[in-house]
């Protein structure tokens, strides 16, 4: 019932038969499919646990939104000229990160205005490129909303490389990144915050590339911020926060993936919905926890 409804909603009635066949194909391939999906979820969780923690503590969620939406331009370019959209999205999100970083610091423009403009330009380019390329509708949805169930092995390999890159950079520069995030003025005296800030934005861009496969352009910021935001409630240490949010990310993607597979609903949205609800619950729990501690102290 539900499946038919979704099929009709997204693909129209005449494509229904194709979809059914596709489903059989998928079920035949199930094993490798599920393995890739699980791997993609774990790899994405590592990236967003680490980089998402920086995004949350440095309060640059909006920048991440700009970067991820601009990546859509690269996806469009990939569809149009028939190369891997992952490559296109990497180029576009890196470019967007650097433009936002340089323009907002060097010119007297307000940062959020610059972000908004880059966001819109990237998105528009994507829409135009995709509308120019043949047979676009299927791609449109999988990149906008993600589809963890269709991640090819080659993309898993790319994600693995990007993850290793992120882990290496953060491991080496952890202390300098911490100084940059906490106090930029002091960092000017003991570190190189302008350059490191651009590097951090590039790491965000790479994380966005990884996450697009899983939750899509539009939901990337949710995946970046929710696990880190929950982690932040339970620790006062950035390293621990990264660790907790990675674990949470793995739980969210795995559970979300299972739910979406069983009920055959959109995977990206399921993962995010599950994480979002957990976030709300965690706020409630930590609120009650603080109240309890407070009344204990009083007694």
């Amino acid at each position: 019932m539900f499946r038919e409804f979704v099929n009709q909603l997204f693909f129209g009635k005449e494509q229904n038969e194709k979809m059914v066949k596709l489903r059989y194909m998928i079920e035949a391939l199930q094993y490798e499919f599920m393995r890739n999906a699980l791997a993609a979820g774990i790899l994405a969780s590592i990236a967003c646990g680490i980089v998402g923690s920086y995004v949350v503590v440095k309060r640059i969620v909006f920048i991440s939104g700009g970067v991820s939406h601009s990546a859509y331009g690269g996806i469009g370019l990939g569809c149009l000229f028939d190369f891997n959209p992952v490559l296109g999205s990497t180029l576009f999100s890196l470019a967007a990160a650097l433009i936002i970083g340089v323009v907002s610091k060097e010119s007297s423009q307000r940062e959020d205005t610059v972000i908004g403009v880059i966001w819109a330009i990237g998105m528009s380019l994507g829409i135009i490129f995709i509308s120019m390329s043949p047979g676009y509708s299927a791609n449109l949805f999988s990149y906008l909303f993600g589809n963890i169930l269709t991640v090819p092995t080659s993309d898993i390999f790319i994600m693995l490389v990007l993850d290793s890159l992120i882990i290496t950079v953060v491991f080496l520069l952890y202390n300098h990144f911490l100084a940059l995030c906490f106090d930029e003025e002091f960092a000017l005296l003991v570190s190189y915050p302008q350059k490191l800030y651009l590097l951090l934005l590039c790491l965000i861009a790479l994380t966005v590339v990884i996450l697009i496969r899983v939750v899509g352009v539009i939901l990337v910021i949710a995946m970046l911020t929710i696990p880190a935001a929950i982690g932040a409630q339970f620790t006062n240490n950035l390293k621990k926060m990264m660790f907790i949010s990675t674990i949470l990310g793995i739980i969210f993607t795995t559970v979300g993936l299972s739910i979406s597979y069983i009920f055959n609903i959109a995977s990206g949205a399921t993962i995010i919905l599950f994480s979002g609800i957990t976030y709300l619950i965690s706020i409630g729990v930590s609120f009650l926890w603080q109240r309890r501690n407070f009344s204990c102290n009083k007694l």
């Binding site: 503590v57 520069l173 003025e185 926060m241």
Partner: protein, 243 residues
């Protein structure tokens, strides 16, 4: 002879510094040298350019014209050897970081980009925390501290950089009497080895321990720094003072 040379050595020199913000002149033609034994107090009215002057010395603001020399170089290259306690410290009170980790940041001045903190760094940091009297709260999250405690964290962080010159911008405005005494005697000890530049409005108070005073109101009102008298100060502030 050698010792004398070191005692008198010039650490920092400002040459004809002018600073403008959007065409409004904030500092005009400042010439000033800081020597190794100096404990220089900078006074002047609100908006007189004291914070700006400090930031120029630190290399955080590039002057419109003029030159800063720190140990004979441009401060951009040597600024890692400067300690700074800012006047206004805006930070995120929810930031997940402990007091000790904030002070550890000072140690980034010693070591390259790949710096990892070792036992020596931690010893220096604990020592700095002890000196300003906040060792007992070293594991607290930074947002849970009071204004005066945070100022002391910033002082500890500046000390942890093991600087060759120290800058304080109103470091004592939030600090209670007892800890003020502690910090003042600390500064006197530090001043045996490095010069200190301190901005304060509390003229009566700083005149008890600084050995030079600069009156700043856009221009430097006393060119030779020492020999501060009531008249210059009253001229700088445009009101009467008791010394």
């Amino acid at each position: 002879m050698k010792k004398l040379n070191r005692v008198n050595s010039e650490i920092l020199r400002l040459k004809n510094i002018c600073v403008q913000y959007n065409n409004a002149t904030v500092l005009e033609n400042i010439n000033l040298s800081v020597y190794k034994t100096d404990f220089l107090g900078v006074i002047g009215p609100n908006g007189g350019g004291k914070t700006t002057l400090l930031k120029v010395m630190l290399g955080l603001i590039r002057p419109t014209t003029g030159k800063v020399e720190f140990l004979g170089n441009n401060p951009d290259k040597k600024q890692k050897h400067m300690g700074y306690v800012p006047q206004n410290f805006y930070f995120d009170r929810t930031f997940p970081i402990s007091v000790r980790d904030v002070v550890l940041m000072g140690r980034l001045a010693r070591g390259g980009l790949l710096k990892k903190f070792n036992d020596n760094d931690k010893k220096i940091v604990d020592n700095a925390l002890e000196k300003v009297g906040i060792y007992t709260i070293k594991d607290r999250q930074i947002g849970q501290l009071s204004g005066g405690q945070i100022q002391r964290v910033l002082i500890a962080r500046a000390l942890a950089t093991e600087p060759q010159i120290l800058f304080f911008d109103e470091p004592t405005s939030n600090i209670d009497r007892r800890n003020l005494k502690l910090i003042c005697s600390l500064l006197k000890i530090i001043n045996k080895n490095i010069p200190i530049v301190i901005v304060s409005h509390d003229i009566e108070y700083i005149s008890t321990f600084v050995n030079k005073i600069a009156c700043l109101n856009k221009r430097l009102l006393n060119k030779n720094l020492c020999g501060v008298n009531k008249k210059t100060i009253e001229f700088a502030y445009n009101c009467s003072v008791n010394l």
